[in-house]
Amino acid sequence: MSGRRRGDVWLSVAGAAGVILAWEAVARSGAVSPAVFPPPSVALGGSLHRLSPGELGQHVGASLLRIGWGFGIGAGLGVVLGIALGWYRWLAALVGPLVELVRPIPPLAWIPMAIVWFGLGEPSKVFVIFLGAFFPVFTNAYKGMTSIDPVLLRAAQTMGLAGPRLLFQVAIPAAMPDLATGIRVGWGLSFAVVIAAELIAADRGMGFMIMRAREFGDVGVIVFGILLIGTTNLVTDYAIGGVIRRRLGRWHPI
């Protein structure tokens, strides 16, 4: 089994290396101008030459800080509201329709109104990311709370659990896998949203970095920025997945 698994890893490495090498070869063949389609080595080298580590760190940091705020508030509120609406029917009947009314509007469609309400600064971006994180987390938390196996709840009630203890010791742990799904989807969406918001109006951040590179016609920096955004997303998503797996145990498929 381990031999086969090692073979799998080598195949994956070969796949990634093959794509990068093919890209390099096509770009160097001279069929397309390198200014339009730069080889990866040139895009990477040129960008690292042009952007100082400090500047680069500032762009990555700005994007992550915005996501941190927006996702933190959105996911936090999504968890609390999802659990509360899933547990108290009258609250769901009261607030549910309002949430359902706003939910079909994609987060990016809020960008113009966010600028109207909060100006061009940080709060407007944080607000749009907040929306991107809130809805997936809320929807999944609510779904998790309303689809708990009723036998589980009745068994706990038979043993004398009621009220807050039933909620915190039985219901919320039972809804955890759905909560985890919501958090990962919400993180991915937050990432997509911050880049879009930075393309439209920002003075730093990874989205701003590539939009400015476009104005200078610097395709190398654009390509580098795209790879940087993908890598940052992949690494942070993997880290969140790791934390969730450690807390929930390996048996919960997420």
Partner: protein
């Protein structure tokens, strides 16, 4: 929000909230909004009154914004872009997904590339698409296609890959050849998953188009809401947002119905990969 499962079972049916409560709250919110706007408590630019928004909707339908570009045009242009990109994505992702899902070595080979490409935020490709293909229609359609492609691909691959091995073995013991197994066992078994992926992909495409249209065009719903802001017409922006939400809702409802019609034996697949 379908209320299927039980909420806390200690709350009996007698205390179930009445059905008029939700719509009642909405109506009350609209009335309060209108009242606050008329009383002058709300700045009209930030929160235009509902009656004003109704006038704006009429204006958008008759005169259009910018003048001459009616609401129908905006909706048509946006839906047209989505349809093109979505069709392209499906045409490419289904054959590719079937192949990758059916050949394990290919799956391993493609894994890192697929994983990475899915992590790339579609809109981060916008500057590159503009540099390569200009600000015209091609860039927009290709970006929608990119956003939809990976979602469909991932679900087709998973659908084929996780076909119940018992089904495959049963077919094999009935002397079905590899082509027969693929066509008559794997393909139908993978269909529900593939369809679920296509449904999610449409939502992803719809989300993406709004961002894509905010650059380099005056037609389309995304362009409408951003353009309105630069003319200080927040009322147009809000009406545009409502129309976007309604279009998205209509599309997803349509696909859900279609799914139920085409795959009546398979309802409500939960595990969709994004």
């Amino acid at each position: 929000m379908a209320r299927s499962g039980p909420t806390s079972p200690d709350r009996g049916a007698a205390r179930r909230p009445p059905g008029w409560l939700g719509p009642g709250v909405l109506a009350a919110a609209v009335v309060a909004w209108e009242g606050a706007a008329r009383a002058g408590w709300l700045v009209p630019f930030y929160f235009p009154a509902p009656s004003r928004l109704a006038d704006t909707l009429r204006e958008l339908l008759v005169v259009g914004f910018p003048q001459g570009v009616g609401m129908g045009t905006h909706i048509g242009v946006t839906l047209g872009r989505i349809a093109q990109g979505y069709a392209l994505a499906i045409a490419l992702a289904i054959p590719a997904g079937l192949l990758i899902g059916w050949v394990p070595a290919l799956d391993r080979l493609a894994l890192p590339v697929v994983t990475f490409c899915r992590s790339v935020a579609t809109l981060s490709l916008l500057p590159l698409a503009i540099a390569w293909f200009g600000v015209g229609e091609l860039s927009k359609v290709l970006l929608i296609a990119y956003a939809c492609f990976w979602v469909v691909l991932a679900n087709v691959v998973a659908g084929v890959k996780y076909v119940d091995p018992l089904l495959v073995r049963a077919a094999r013991s009935l002397d079905t050849g590899p082509a027969g197994i693929f066509l008559r066992v794997a393909l139908p078994a993978a269909l529900p998953r593939a369809f679920a992926g296509m449904r999610v992909a449409l939502g992803v495409g719809f989300m993406t188009i709004v961002g894509v249209e905010m650059v380099g065009t005056i037609q389309g719903l995304g362009a409408l809401i951003l353009e309105a802001r630069t003319f200080f017409r927040s009322d147009v922006t809000l009406v545009g947002m409502a129309v976007i939400g309604l279009c998205g809702l209509a599309l997803s409802t349509l696909l859900e119905r279609l799914e139920r019609l085409l795959l009546p034996w398979h309802r409500g697949l939960e595990s969709v990969r994004r």
